[in-house]
């Protein structure tokens, strides 16, 4: 079971929503789908689910269009909008009609309610639920058909810290069970420690599509922080081939030289230093680096 998106294009009037979006979601891992607001993440998910029609390109679930699936919730579970509820209907009844639409028994409803931790409120009207509880109800709905693929749009929104920890563990366990998990977020930090693979979207297309490790390696340019009181440090390092910036406290940030070379260069010039530290690029920084163009372009467009 995998989900493949190939060259999706879609316009809403004069706005280009998707401009050749392509990626694949493989089983057994969590694929993070990240990008600034308006990058086309939700539109892509709606196209996968057959809710929006792309102008061109294809979105396939195990090689088939979603619309051709017989019991789609048993193939792909999804949570797009936790607020998509009839407020007067109880949580259990909301899941019950969904179960009936797939020919699933009521016992399945009770199982997912239990898993999502909603058993106690199953007979309460969903209209009174907090956003976090609605997210859990949405997760329960997504898991109703025990699907081999799961697709969640911004599932951390509105969750309390305990809920976020639960969600992370839950998503990891889904991948561990061999399911394909697609998880969108506009915050890369939410994906850290959850996603195995990241698809970075910007301006309707795929900017990066790589494993977390690759992504970090690609965007990491050696960055070394040097603390010293000696004003000769900056020219000495520049001479050695590094790019050096200095902040107000006198801390130097060195790029272009690995940490060992920095220490060698400082020692050679007899410069005293209190600290030399190599800094790893964070996922967030890598993401900002990647999407800078997309965001800037957008800002310019808006002007």
């Amino acid at each position: 079971m995998n989900i493949t998106v190939d060259s999706l294009r879609k316009r809403f009037g004069r706005t280009v929503a998707l401009d050749g979006m392509s990626f694949a979601v493989e089983p057994g891992q969590v694929t993070g789908f990240v990008g600034p607001n308006g990058a086309g993440k939700s539109t892509t998910m709606r196209v996968i689910l057959g809710l929006d029609r792309a102008d061109s390109g294809s979105a396939l679930v195990s090689g088939r269009p979603y619309r051709s699936l017989d019991r789609p919730l048993c193939q792909v579970g999804s949570l797009l909008d936790a607020g998509a509820l009839q407020p007067g209907r109880t949580a259990r009844n909301h899941l019950l009609w969904l179960a009936h639409s797939q020919g699933l028994p009521g016992s399945r409803v009770d199982a997912v309610l239990e898993q999502a931790g909603l058993t106690a409120v199953a007979r309460r009207r969903a209209g009174g639920f907090s956003l976090g509880m609605r997210q859990r109800l949405g997760i329960a709905a997504a898991m109703l058909g025990d699907p081999p693929a799961v697709m969640l749009d911004e599932p951390f929104n509105g969750m309390d810290p305990e809920g976020i920890i639960w969600m992370r563990g839950f998503l990891r366990s889904l991948a561990a069970e061999g399911r394909a998990v697609l998880l969108s977020s506009h915050l890369m930090s939410e994906l850290e420690g959850v996603a195995d693979h990241v698809v970075v979207a910007g301006r309707g297309r795929t900017i990066a599509d790589a494993s977390i490790g690759r992504l970090l390696a690609d965007t990491t340019r050696g960055r070394v922080v040097v603390r010293t009181a000696d004003p000769a440090a900056k020219p000495a390092l520049t001479e050695a081939g590094a790019t050096v910036t200095e902040d107000s406290s006198g801390t130097l940030t060195v790029t272009g030289l690995p940490a060992e070379a920095v220490v060698t260069a400082l020692n050679r010039s007899g410069i005293a230093f209190s600290e030399v530290a190599a800094r790893r690029t964070s996922l967030e920084e890598a993401y900002l680096e990647l999407t800078r163009d997309a965001v800037e372009f957008r800002a310019e467009e808006a002007r």
């Binding site: 079971m1 089983p27 709606r46 689910l49 057959g50 809710l51 929006d52 029609r53 195990s62 088939r64 979603y66 619309r67 051709s68 699936l69 017989d70 019991r71 789609p72 919730l73 048993c74 193939q75 999804s78 797009l80 909008d81 607020g83 998509a84 509820l85 009839q86 407020p87 007067g88 209907r89 109880t90 009844n93 019950l96 009609w97 969904l98 009936h100 639409s101 797939q102 020919g103 699933l104 028994p105 016992s107 399945r108 199982a111 997912v112 898993q115 931790g117 709905a141 898991m143 058909g145 025990d146 699907p147 081999p148 639960w166 563990g169 839950f170 366990s173 069970e177 061999g178 399911r179």
Partner: protein
Amino acid sequence: MSTSFPREAAGLSPDSATHGQTPPPVSALRTFGRLMRAEWTKLRTVRGWMAALLGGVAAMIALGLMTGAQGSCTPQRCAQPTGPDGQEVTDAFSFAHQPLTGDGSITVRVAEMDGLIPADPGTEAEDAGQGPQRADGPPSGMPGLAPWAKTGLMIKDGTRPGAAYAAIMTTGSHGVRMQHNFTHDRAGTSGNAPRWLRLTRTGELIVGEESADGHAWTKVGEVRLNGLPATVQAGMFATSPQYSRVDDGLIGTAASGGPSQVTGAFDHLELEGDWPAAAWTGTKIGGPIDRDVSGFGLTGPVFRVTGSGDVAPATAGLAGIGVTITQTLVGTFVALIAVVVLGAVVMTAEFRRGLVRTTLAAAPRRGRVLAAKAVVLGGVTFLVGLVAAVLVVEIGGRVMVSRGVYVHPVTTGIRTQVVVGTAALLAFSAVLAMALGTVLRRSLTAVTTGIVLIVLPYLLSLTALSGEAADWVLRVTPAAAFALQQSRPAYPQVDNLYTAALGYFPLPPWGGFSVLVAWTTAALVVAAVALRRRDA
């Protein structure tokens, strides 16, 4: 808290338990069955929706049972005679008759028709001392003829009200007519008195002829009276029906009226065949016992017969007595409002909060989703409406009878048409509103459109609109399906106020229903196209 979903406990069929495997093809019917079940679960689990539906039909039942009608009928007093075809008839007239044995004929000239009609309430003030008109009072008022005042010749199987007959007559304003057995009516020329008329009996055949001068005769009609015995009663008759003056105002219809009477003056009487009695008997046939305006002048050469009543199918309303079962269903419009609101809202609620995306993710074939919703909504409103209609007609009818209101009996077929038709009216209207909700998406817009399109035309035709305007509205709007509630036909030979309020509609039952079905089908097609084309 465990975060895994054990597959063993899931209760899933094997096909979905294996990742990535295509499930075996399942019949479209089974898929549709699942969708219907899902839609039924959706419908029944919103308490407000069920409350609206049941509240609507409860109000409909209550309006039917808590009738304000009050009458003085007992089954004996108000029972109508039964005609040869088994239907209820009005058979009240004055008959100057004698037996005719075997074949023979009777010819006469209607020299003159005179009558009295109720005074126009607008001019009543001028008729000093007359007092107000009373519907059951003696005919009084001004000279004039009711349009369906009848004078002429009749051959009848005895003098029992409801017995088979054939007659030829001049009328107040409908020319010469030949009528038989109450429901059959054939037009002759538009001539008025003086007019020559003739009836000829040959076996079971009766031929009616008319003439302007007594020499050149024109056949008006030939009818067969099955099982007519050798000896019949034949002679001159006169009768004049309830007179109603209908004023189609700009707003609404005003009606006034009362009994009328007519006197026919007959001369040039000629008999052929075996007329053993050789003398005329004047008999008032049928009609109320406590009101008798009949009069006879039975010595020739000019005979006079005065009568009041009608020889026609029995009707409810102004021209007849009592009500029909249709009147017990006055509260249908409340249930209609409820199902229109329900139908629109079950769809717009999906759009309002994006629930439609969940629905369509679960069932990507959008046309099927729409069909399943329509079938479930239509089915539920049909069943609830059917129960309500049966209760209203059965119990409401008994309540009316217990209050002394005469309720015209109807055949099982008509009763079925009325109750099933009422249920169908509600069901199709709900589906039409649902289709409107699919196209318009907003609750307020869809509900308003549904009410304006379906309920308002009916209410306007009951109240504000009159005559042609009301008929027009009841022909083209979905409200045309109210015609299914009509329980008795409108007869052209009986002047009556044939309005929706009295249970008469301009289209026949199935014609009116077809109009609603056409609206619903068209709206569903537009809804299916819209649902498919638009992004959810």
